[in-house]
Symmetry: C2
Subunit: 420 residues, 2 copies
Amino acid sequence: MRCEIISVGTELLMGQITNTNARDIARELLSLGIGVYYQTVVGDNGPRLAAVFGQALKRAEFIILTGGLGPTDDDLTRETIAGVLELPLEKSSIWEEKLKEFFSRSKRPMAEINMKQAMIPRGGTILLNDRGTAPGIMLEQQGKIIILLPGPPREMLPMLKTQVIPLLREKLLEKGSLAVLRSKVLRVIGLGESAMAEMIRPLLEEQTNPTIAPLAKGWEVHLRLTARGNSEEEVEELLASKAGEIRKVLGYYIYGEDEEELELAVARLLWQSGKTIALAESCSGGLLCHRLTNIPDSSRYMLAGLVTYSNEAKANILGIDPALIARVGAVSPEVAEAMASGVRRLCRADIGVGITGIAGPGGATPQKPVGLTYIALQTDDFNICRRYEFWGSRLDVKERASQSALYMLYRYLIEKLKKM
Amino acid sequence: MRCEIISVGTELLMGQITNTNARDIARELLSLGIGVYYQTVVGDNGPRLAAVFGQALKRAEFIILTGGLGPTDDDLTRETIAGVLELPLEKSSIWEEKLKEFFSRSKRPMAEINMKQAMIPRGGTILLNDRGTAPGIMLEQQGKIIILLPGPPREMLPMLKTQVIPLLREKLLEKGSLAVLRSKVLRVIGLGESAMAEMIRPLLEEQTNPTIAPLAKGWEVHLRLTARGNSEEEVEELLASKAGEIRKVLGYYIYGEDEEELELAVARLLWQSGKTIALAESCSGGLLCHRLTNIPDSSRYMLAGLVTYSNEAKANILGIDPALIARVGAVSPEVAEAMASGVRRLCRADIGVGITGIAGPGGATPQKPVGLTYIALQTDDFNICRRYEFWGSRLDVKERASQSALYMLYRYLIEKLKKM
């Protein structure tokens, strides 16, 4: 089934908002094996929308439109599509009731213009919208499926996932043409894209189904496996088996799957090992603590994260000798180690982490460039301190510092668990 | 000048990446008064790209394409566009040199396929690319301007801004049809969208040039003013004058313009007042400290941010009486105040902030729901503690807590500066 996506809205055309809808729709359709052939953005303009829709009718079997279903005069999608298909608009009593209920619940008077949203092209099916006043509409005309959805993503996305996709799945099953397509992402840390590709080269070269696509993403590399088959089970089996082969080669370099962030991998290892942690941050400004406390239930491992920004705070709170700071400077391996051991002692934590560096853009010296960072990790039987030179903006340096500290924790905990 | 944007790439069509290029190009063109009439996404497919480009030639005077300029076989844009325009490809000796230099600098051997990237349709002008091996190309054919740019945003964007936009500006000046369009965003805090609209209703009703568009954004409201005129000076004057009228009504509710975040507004007030600050966070997990240290030179006000996550940390580090925590609970106004005063004393800061709450999803009780948060601010002559009930995900609660604390600081510092 050839699909085409039409996004309606002058704010999209002018670049005032990003077209995340087209991306999200394409992704969901891909999971049903439906290929999108074109995406078009057109403004709130009747004749131009009519022309774009007319063209789509010629080249696609399935057309999905978003936007232009609001109550005001510049919302033209409903009327334009009905016009091209030569269908009269008829009032839906179901949606008329919904509208009245919606406005009485929100204790607002309903403007007369809102009733426009209860008008549906003849033969159309209403798709319910729990989060707004515009219903979606499905039409089957000339052997084609046409779906209209509201533009705001928070209304559109749930409608897509809970109504449109199940409907399409049914249609495809009826036609006997349901191909199942699924992706799984393996998230890799500690290896660059080319080093990783080298390690799994035979797998990359022989790929067919699933396909394997490496992608550098932020400070990591992601491997996207995509499998196609006739059933969920078959596809899941293909993905699991290929993921297993890759895991055999890459081992602990794969820290998680799909949406799992590195902080979740570290959190799981902390839970498994029963260890507690305390952080002393300087240049990373609390970002490491923020990430480690984004995980629900992080209070089971996180005792405290102290952002000792000033030298006085490093001395008074962590007990670091001011003479040491004066001698070697706050950005030094000695101070990173003293931060890690200081916070560990203060909080009686199993693991202490210290981060000190120059986030920039100011603060550099000829010996200590922007981005220079030391990260130390200490426990009762292990300690390490590493030197990094990160580049980029202030936020880049903060992000890379937190990412490197998480990776250090990840490696330490994996080794520790092996011995436990 | 009617413009059309064509984005080439199967990864866009399949929703694997978001089409930020079309958005960014539309925005930049708008600043020259060039209206985009259509945006189209098409895959790495010669015949379909040729059809889309042929259609664009019929309906636009200016066409900008991104993507498909890479060295591999699925990169078809250069060849396809040359084909439709019936122009032969010719080797650019300038770019051949660039390619050789690029590969020798990065100490990698140049593959033969890379030479494809030095092939330019006859009559085309090269647009330099400092960050990759694909040059941009500008063609003037049949009275139309056609521009090809590489797909990766980090290559495309600088080329757009430093080469394409200045070139277009010149063309428009030659034709005498340069309209200048500029936007300015006023960022509003502490008012909801409808309350703000009510306050500036006369201005909203009489708007012509500049136009005024309110937009709820995150936990704030943004007002976008857009002015059109014949010169930069005229447009800047229109924007400044309208912004002045709005500022007269909204006063300190406007905390910044354009890309300025609330943390920058607070940083400026801290610098102005010469005050130092120390934070004690719990549920916000260091996010407030992260935001306040994202500002370059934040070390001039930030002494320390202590994320005292466990009750023991609150007691041992901040000196809060464990009996108090046991009696009223860690999430209480008493503990928020003790955190603010404790960290202030410990760091000898002018201002102490304490945040304690339940970020969720666990940890709630019938009396203390997820989202319940207390924020306290203390100085030597002022203290306040406010109760909030935030809703949403764990990250939502963290974000709203940090945002509310910044707003509290913002209001306090404005009042303080009035009296100084």
